[in-house]
Symmetry: C3
Amino acid sequence: MRDLAETSPRHRPDAGGAVVSEGRWAHRHLLDVDQLTRAELEACLDLAVEMRERRDRHEALDDLRGEVVGLAFMEPSTRTRVSFELAATALGAQIVNLPIEASSVTKGESLVDTLLTLQRTGISTIVLRHSLSGAPYLAARSCDARIVNAGDGTHAHPTQALLDALTLREAIGPLEGKKIAIVGDILHSRVARSNIHSLTALGASVWLAGPLAWVGDFVDWPGVTVANGLEEGLADADAVMALRIQLERLSGDSAMSLREYAAAWGLDESRMELARRGAPLLHPGPVNEGVELTPELATSVRSLIGTQVTNGVPVRMAVLSLLAQ
Amino acid sequence: MRDLAETSPRHRPDAGGAVVSEGRWAHRHLLDVDQLTRAELEACLDLAVEMRERRDRHEALDDLRGEVVGLAFMEPSTRTRVSFELAATALGAQIVNLPIEASSVTKGESLVDTLLTLQRTGISTIVLRHSLSGAPYLAARSCDARIVNAGDGTHAHPTQALLDALTLREAIGPLEGKKIAIVGDILHSRVARSNIHSLTALGASVWLAGPLAWVGDFVDWPGVTVANGLEEGLADADAVMALRIQLERLSGDSAMSLREYAAAWGLDESRMELARRGAPLLHPGPVNEGVELTPELATSVRSLIGTQVTNGVPVRMAVLSLLAQ
Amino acid sequence: MRDLAETSPRHRPDAGGAVVSEGRWAHRHLLDVDQLTRAELEACLDLAVEMRERRDRHEALDDLRGEVVGLAFMEPSTRTRVSFELAATALGAQIVNLPIEASSVTKGESLVDTLLTLQRTGISTIVLRHSLSGAPYLAARSCDARIVNAGDGTHAHPTQALLDALTLREAIGPLEGKKIAIVGDILHSRVARSNIHSLTALGASVWLAGPLAWVGDFVDWPGVTVANGLEEGLADADAVMALRIQLERLSGDSAMSLREYAAAWGLDESRMELARRGAPLLHPGPVNEGVELTPELATSVRSLIGTQVTNGVPVRMAVLSLLAQ
């Protein structure tokens, strides 16, 4: 199926034209981080820090009081769905879950019909995860509810990129001029794609390391360097982000086995020593232990994997709050 | 399987005996609209209008404060389930969802056992959708919770009929003496069956148009006329309601293909011009575009499809509130 | 698969060392009733009675205000899940449901990863049902959230045992010296296993009756007598508990057919007359009517099946409250 997100500018109904004043967003939807300016990205991260503190103090927040947030996850998810559910309720919203299987999609109802129905029952914000790249753009054009992209196909995962940016900023300071290495299957990763946008917008230098077929397309991206092998990618990196490998990609058309991938691109402590002293490690989870990284590395002091999850809720609170302004 | 609803009077535990005073219902359950008098129907619609206004003003309502409403949808549904969920919480109730697959029905527990369990945990109202015609009647006889029929087999869908009546009343005024055409597969439609009861009770003249096998059984129903073809059905109609076709019915025993159905009975703007000037179009959704009606008609000014969905929440608020009195 | 719960003492992270003062528990998790002293068991039942009264008075309770309880049911369940959901919300907690199919377990994420993710998003208590005996012990060792076992494989079902104890105590008085007969497939029943622990701890004498292959392993358990046939088991029993038979066990390796089981071990009113006059009957539900007991017995005055369900919510409120202290 053709990717809806990549055909033309009109598929980015929310891109451009944003006016930021006093940390506010002028956006109705969050479809990808590429729609956000550096100032907007920073404002979101700042607000997430504030949200985290207020949540930790058990403050009653009411940014979304009286609103209903619909969680339309058309692909399985634990961490992202739960995180959005907790974020929305922490802001005083009611949530409505649309279980994949119970939705009328099984009756042949189209995505747009389902979303229109939700909007017409009074749902003001729809958090959408969909296997089709670009589905949130279609949603944003088709219904009046605010749309938050919770991951679409291989295209984008903006709230993951925002929580990664917050986690990185708190671990290594401002990202301006920092070298961030992303290792793995960049080509098929919505996490990598969104991170490339946000990290370069925040001034970081992004290095990509992985099998050529999975990194080659990115040689001309501004702010991005395709490394000549893992060693060059990791060398003096300020932080390293490993991506989840879809294991099924290592059997079909790929010439590479799981074992070969782990041997060539899997991270362990000795490889991490190529990076700057104490450079942290991120991974969007869930980790295939022994493939993308060793179990030891996953639980070492370098690992920010738990912090990423923890930051998911306040970042999503910030996003929902900013969109509702 | 034999329809439980149609065997004998004792299957209608809630029919008859209702005393209406000051707009109150004397009913414990809503099993079908045929249990409601004209005065009760009108009272429900009036209350729905009030509920809609109060919800729009974000008033905190507490008609169901401290109560738990169980949503037992044994068939997939988006619009009806979400609508009941929002209606119950808008009235201050807690809701509990019983996902189809997670219910103990997979352990061989019977419907009655499941409902008794729910009641015994403190659930006061059960909203039931079930593929078996008459299941809500069985439920009402078997447990002490209030039962709201959210669609049972091919039998009844009373809250759909109520929201249709409200939508029609607001579009064309009082239904007394109005001609309402219902087009499609009346025989298998719980929406049509309930609408026939409520629309005739409200004084409308209901005309049925569709393939003979799907309308023939209704020739002797009081207040109902089986049209001699689509043209007669639509002629000077004050409003037209198209029904969703179960596409699988157009392949098996039916002698009619999808294409033949659309050609003979599908609605478009030119056919709608047989009706009264500006006559509105209803459809319970989701629409099979190009079958029951054209995409153009679905989004034309005639179409009240969105309004029907919007009216679903306040109508269900009114029903839940009236049953809880 | 090897049972995680039965390999060594370190698999019981919460056993022993409990200090009870003023009815408080010193436990972080509820993994099985065998971790509870008699005083703790009694304190829990006393608190459950208080919770039931306060819930009946619609008192607003806030024992879990500001907390999030995650319901991770990896096996289908209606009564237990709904009961925990109502218990948690009655104490002021927010609940998050993890539908089996939507959880990232389908992505190959391990149980531990899923639970760690939940904890990191801010979930303080996880109610876990899992087909693997011992899974809650693994969970308690692996993450910092409180773990409540809602049934693990054939191992334990502590909250069921607690609600059974409460139901029995209110029906026949203090359990000290009472004879309680448990009838059926003890070997594969987590309900029976937990009840044996709690009933003997409360001073009851537990008699087991069932096919030899299903009771033989228990001959040496302290406080337990394996009856020589159904008659001896029921003779002068103060109460009788029938277990749900997994019907599939009566076809495969078993030499016994369903009909043979019902003839030999099924309960009816005449068999119940072997017990003390008016001895009550319990069953964890759902009942296979005509197998474990007759439909008449299930609805007779002896039957406490409905009371068991009703007691489920306040018992689970007591457990959640005691763990949160």
